[in-house]
């Protein structure tokens, strides 16, 4: 496969310029009353979606920004991001 990723700054580039940064799980939870289960859920647990998922990427050999894309994990192809996301 030859993954390509669209960086919001640099455009569509070879996937090897980037580093994967995990499933999109939302901002860091508040520390107060964060029990071990909830902590573990945020830090370690994945949905392992076989299909389109929103995920983080870092343009390591490029501009150095973190951003999310939609990618189909069953084809390894980037999907176009819908404008209005719920």
């Amino acid at each position: 496969m030859a993954l390509t990723i669209t960086c919001p700054v640099c455009g569509k580039r070879n996937g090897y310029e980037f580093k994967y940064g995990g499933e999109e799980k939302g901002p860091r939870p508040e520390e107060k009353d964060l029990n071990p289960q909830a902590w573990c859920e945020y830090v370690h647990m994945n949905k392992c979606v076989a299909g389109v998922q929103e995920e983080w990427w870092f343009h390591k050999d490029g501009c150095g920004s973190w951003f999310t894309i939609l990618r189909d994990t069953t084809t390894n192809l980037e999907q176009e991001k819908k404008e209005a996301k719920k």
């Binding site: 030859a2 994967y20 573990c40 370690h44 994945n46 392992c48 979606v49 076989a50 995920e55």
Partner: protein, 407 residues
């Protein structure tokens, strides 16, 4: 004649509406568990549900290396038992699993690596597993093709030599276990897809498949790389797993050249020669999750570069075939084996990454015990899912893993 023309794993039968045990996935861990359930525990009313054909996934895509030189004391005994089981299974199943006990040579490219190797070797020796640290010259005596000169990217300092390891013919294990399981009454349903698991009062009650609904009290998901997604989709249980594609390839067949499995962490590469004479090599994973089993241009090139350095004679050999399989990686490179914890009657056996082949026999044996008795065997206890929230990662890897953001 030796050859009997009977289907190896039984005639095709129709799926029944109820079984004592349903196992989702037709790979090695499933087949081994079913085999031991039937043989050791007299539980024979078992259906193995496989979406494709048995051995379609990791079971048929690994490079068949077996060894018991893991890093921690929780893992070594399990893999040791698995290693000891190959000759036993060959006999029991009356099927030649072609265990080539050629030994594994794990190259070390720095003082730090030599130190790490000492710990692994001491751990092996402490558990009665043979493993030795040897220097570069000794390594070259074992593998004359090795380049032990200084002018390569990662000069070889020495190696961890593990004589009890080797290679097993992976397809033979699939077919042999299927044969053994079927002989004991296990039904193998190929081209049947598991669609859901139904629970009542947090207890397993049935499994829905493409061929109908099955009532059952116990279900095991051991579907290799597909386990995590299935477990999440069917039961809503999230796992600390990232599913990555791992690649391997073979060269054209050669007369005997490599007598041992050679591997190198620094080069991300292993190589061994199959009985057919092909040099099988691989190791790399693209560090992002995906369910494709596609290979990459990037990797085959990398592999050639790596081998060109430490086994330079292979520059004159041709790559013939490259393929990919799935590895379900956990943050601590150790599997998750659990049961009756999240849902009563639900068992899981996943997160094996690229160790699923070498462990299948022993895991099948203990998973069968677990399911038959509803008591978790001691050897499985450290592998429960809860370890992640208890901050008790297994330590199978010394360094931080690079396929999660968590480094």
């Amino acid at each position: 004649m030796i050859f009997k023309s009977k289907p190896l794993w039984g005639e095709k039968t129709k799926l029944k509406s109820s079984y004592d045990v349903v196992i989702i996935g037709g790979g090695l861990h499933s087949l081994a568990t079913a085999y031991y359930l039937a043989k050791e525990h007299g539980i024979t009313d078992i259906a193995i549900i496989e979406k494709n054909y048995i051995g379609f996934g990791g079971a048929g895509r690994n490079t068949a290396i077996v060894r018991a030189n893991q890093r921690t004391q929780h893992n070594v005994p399990l893999y040791k038992e698995a290693l000891d089981l190959w000759p036993v299974l060959t006999k029991e199943l009356d099927y030649n699993l072609m265990f080539n006990n050629c030994g594994n040579l794990n190259l070390m490219h720095s003082e730090a690596a030599m130190k790490a190797a000492r710990m692994t070797i001491a751990t092996a020796q402490f558990h009665g597993v043979e493993s030795h640290l040897i220097d570069a010259k000794e390594a070259k005596e074992l593998v004359p093709a090795l380049n032990i000169s200084e002018n390569i990217t990662f000069p070889i300092h020495g190696a961890m030599f593990h004589p009890p390891g080797g290679i097993v013919r992976h397809d033979a294990v699939v077919w042999g276990l299927a044969k053994g399981a079927a002989k004991n009454g296990v039904e193998i349903h190929q081209h049947t897809e598991a669609l859901g698991i139904e629970t009542k009062n947090n207890k397993v009650c049935s499994v829905t498949t493409s061929e109908g609904k099955i009532n059952t009290r116990q279900v095991l998901i051991s579907a290799g790389g597909y386990s995590a997604a299935l477990i999440h989709d069917m039961l809503g249980i999230k796992l600390p797993i990232s599913v990555l594609t791992i690649q391997a390839m073979v060269t054209q067949p050669l007369k005997p050249l490599l007598d041992h499995v050679v591997s190198s962490g620094a080069y991300h590469c292993y190589a061994n020669q199959t009985l057919k004479g092909e040099v099988a090599t691989g190791a790399h994973m693209d560090p992002w999750p995906n369910y494709t089993t596609l290979n990459t241009a990037h990797y085959i090139k990398h592999q050639a570069e790596a081998l060109s350095e430490f086994l330079p004679c292979l520059r004159g050999v041709r790559f013939m075939r490259i393929w990919g399989g799935l590895a379900d990686m956990t943050p601590d490179m150790a599997p998750i084996m659990d049961g009756n914890n999240q849902v009563e009657g639900f068992f899981m056996d996943c997160g094996w990454g690229y160790f699923g082949f070498k462990s299948c026999s022993a895991v099948g044996k203990y998973m069968a015990q677990f399911m038959a008795t509803d008591q978790c065997p001691d050897i499985f206890k450290p592998f429960a899912l809860k370890r992640y929230e208890e901050h008790r990662l297994m330590g199978e890897t010394a360094a931080l893993v690079n396929y999660t953001p968590d480094n």
